[in-house]
């Protein structure tokens, strides 16, 4: 597991320290809370940065999430991994914001069922994604509709379960896979556009 996304997934000793911190913060220790914040804030900020459209939004969301977390800390069930709980709070907050903002531009709903179930050409897919840099991928991700991007971030950044994703996005569990696959298709379309532009640019020089 990646330490950047999940700071507690390191060694058992460190995990014990983290658990103690959480317990202390729960009991009201400002110092423990400050340490907890220092430990998780970068990961949550990056999560918000991926999920929200602008950096400003991400900063605001990060602050608000930690205010919520501090208030709700007593509700945290210590048997669950802390980061998973944290990501649930963060995901709900971000998705709430995005949904309210997009109230008028309806959230590309209804099309979920009309997924093409064709068998894509694996070679073509490999060629499309080979030698893609992280930056190219992020640029393409930024162009995705809110729900598609959110779904990918929840799954591949926060590593949330299908059940949690379904609860956060408010879709039936059986549709989570559809949402994810659809998001990947949209991403590939964007990458194709980019690739075309890159080839054209390459041809021009």
């Amino acid at each position: 597991m990646d330490a950047r996304r999940n700071p507690e997934g390191m060694s058992p000793a460190e995990q014990a320290v983290a658990q103690e911190r959480i317990a202390l913060a729960k009991a009201g220790s400002a110092e423990a809370w400050g340490e907890l914040y220092g430990q998780y804030a970068p990961a949550i900020f990056r999560f918000c940065r991926r999920a929200m459209p602008t950096r400003e939004d991400a900063e605001d969301a990060t602050m608000d999430i930690f205010i919520k977390v501090r208030q709700k800390l007593s509700q945290y069930d210590a048997t669950r991994p802390f980061s998973a709980w944290l990501y649930t709070v963060a995901a709900n907050h971000c998705w709430d914001l995005l949904r309210r903002r997009k109230l008028r531009q309806d959230l590309e709903t209804g099309e979920v069922e009309n997924m093409p179930l064709e068998h894509p050409d694996p070679g073509q897919l490999e060629r499309l994604i080979e030698r893609r840099t992280g930056q190219e991928m992020r640029r393409a991700l930024d162009k995705l509709p809110a729900r598609s991007r959110m779904a990918l971030v929840l799954r591949y950044y926060a590593e949330m379960s299908y059940d949690d994703i379904a609860a956060t996005l408010g879709v039936r569990r059986t549709f989570v896979g559809v949402v994810l696959l659809r998001a990947r298709h949209q991403l590939r379309e964007i990458l194709e556009g980019q690739g075309g532009a890159r080839l054209a640019a390459g041809g021009a020089t």
Binding site: R4, R55, G177
Partner: protein, 539 residues
Amino acid sequence: MIHFDEMACLLYLEGQLDPQRSRELSAHIKECALCRDLLHALQHETILLSSALTEDNESMPARLASERARSLPSWVWTLAFGAFAAGAYWFWTDGIAPWFNQLSSAGFGGTDMFSMIVFSGAFWEGWSDMIDAIQIGALILAVIVAIGWIRRRLRGPVAIAVIMAALLFALALPQQAGAAEVRRGRSIQIPAGEVIHNDLVVTGPSVRIDGTVEGDVIAFTRSLTVTGHVTGDVIAFAGETMIDGTVDGNVRVFTRSVILQGAIEKNVTAFANSIDLVSKANVGGGMIVFAGEADLDGKMQRDLLGLIGRTDLEGVIGGQTWIRGGSLTVASGADLRGPATFEGAQQPVVESGAKLASPIRMELTQEMQRTRRSTARVLFRAILGYGGALVVGVLLLVIFPGFFRATLREAGSIGLPIGVGALALITGAFLLVLGVLLLIVGIGAGVAGVMAYAPILYVAQVFVGTWLGNLIMGQPPEVTSAVVARMAVGLLIIRVAGLIPFLGGLVWLAVFLWGTGAVLLGFHRMSRAESAPTAPLPA
């Protein structure tokens, strides 16, 4: 052969396929290269997605670095308040109090106080010492705000170009100021026979010009006497002004009393307690007079426009006359060659022998009528002011939503923005005094400073109002109309509270300090947010 579709492959990879289908797929891919390749491609895509999302390509913004800094900003505003209190105390003990003593011992006081404070600031020399100490801080603050603004508005080469241009401009300014001859001292005299081939700027308790100035005279003084010749304008902020010589340009005075008995080629503008245009005086142009009392016995070739408490006319007016005020007497020696209008509560007195081109048109402003109209006008203006503020608020919300939210958030922490607002007000006031009074950065910079400050002062109410609205009606959902509704309610409360005598003034002061602080902090936050790249950087 029946292949598995992409959906099934993805669910298989993610461990979400039911066990039965999962086993079928495992068996299938052993034989089917196509499905195996698809599975690999999908997996490759997953890895790519995952690494792109988790890549640490951006550092944490500074304002998120520590939770403590956000939850405990108290030391910041304690410091701001402390500095403000110290500044105010210092300003009072070193600035106002000795000045009061000096004035009362000099026989000034009562109603003249205000005009003394406003018009003869240069009279007290302690100003410069006080200002020297604080000017650096004030300039730094101004520069920080300016840089923040530039960084937010402009980027890259444009920002550099603007800063370079501003630097060049700043370098050019002192040269310009240096081009004028500046004199300071207790008693300044330009003796008869001395010629200054330049603009002359003088500050000091007493200024006397008997010689010739080939340029403008700008004076900040308690007493200004000009008996010589000035080829440009005379601009004076003075306790008493006497012009007995020749001025080829305009005379513009802000003064307690002014006596004009020389020749002035162009126009006269005077804000004064009393103005005396002696019979031998001649004004080549017209006069605009705001005064308590005016004795106008001399000649003016063009129009007279006056807001004057008591007017005595005994001279010649070549153009139109329009006076609004308490009383008007046209003495026997007067000669009004154009149409004359008087607006006032009393009939003008016209002595026999006075020459009038036509009878004086009288517009009676009866007390009753005036009070009723002014009440209606106050109400009208209050409504207009409220509407205007609301419109500006809505525009801000729509055009700069990010800035609006940032500023509103800053307003929510109350103490910090009030402290910052107070600091900005104090430094701004000193900067203005510095610019206008001592001419170190020039009048232009002072005016520019005020023009930058005024809009901030104006929008202050919008943010305090919205904050107040939120307090009463609860945090709004992220819908513009809900925010506007809260803004409307909050602004209405501020506006109504502001109408209360005395208390209203305090309300406005609090709103101004609070709001300007929030706006400055909002600027600051936005400049920081914007200075970071919005597009992800390569890792």
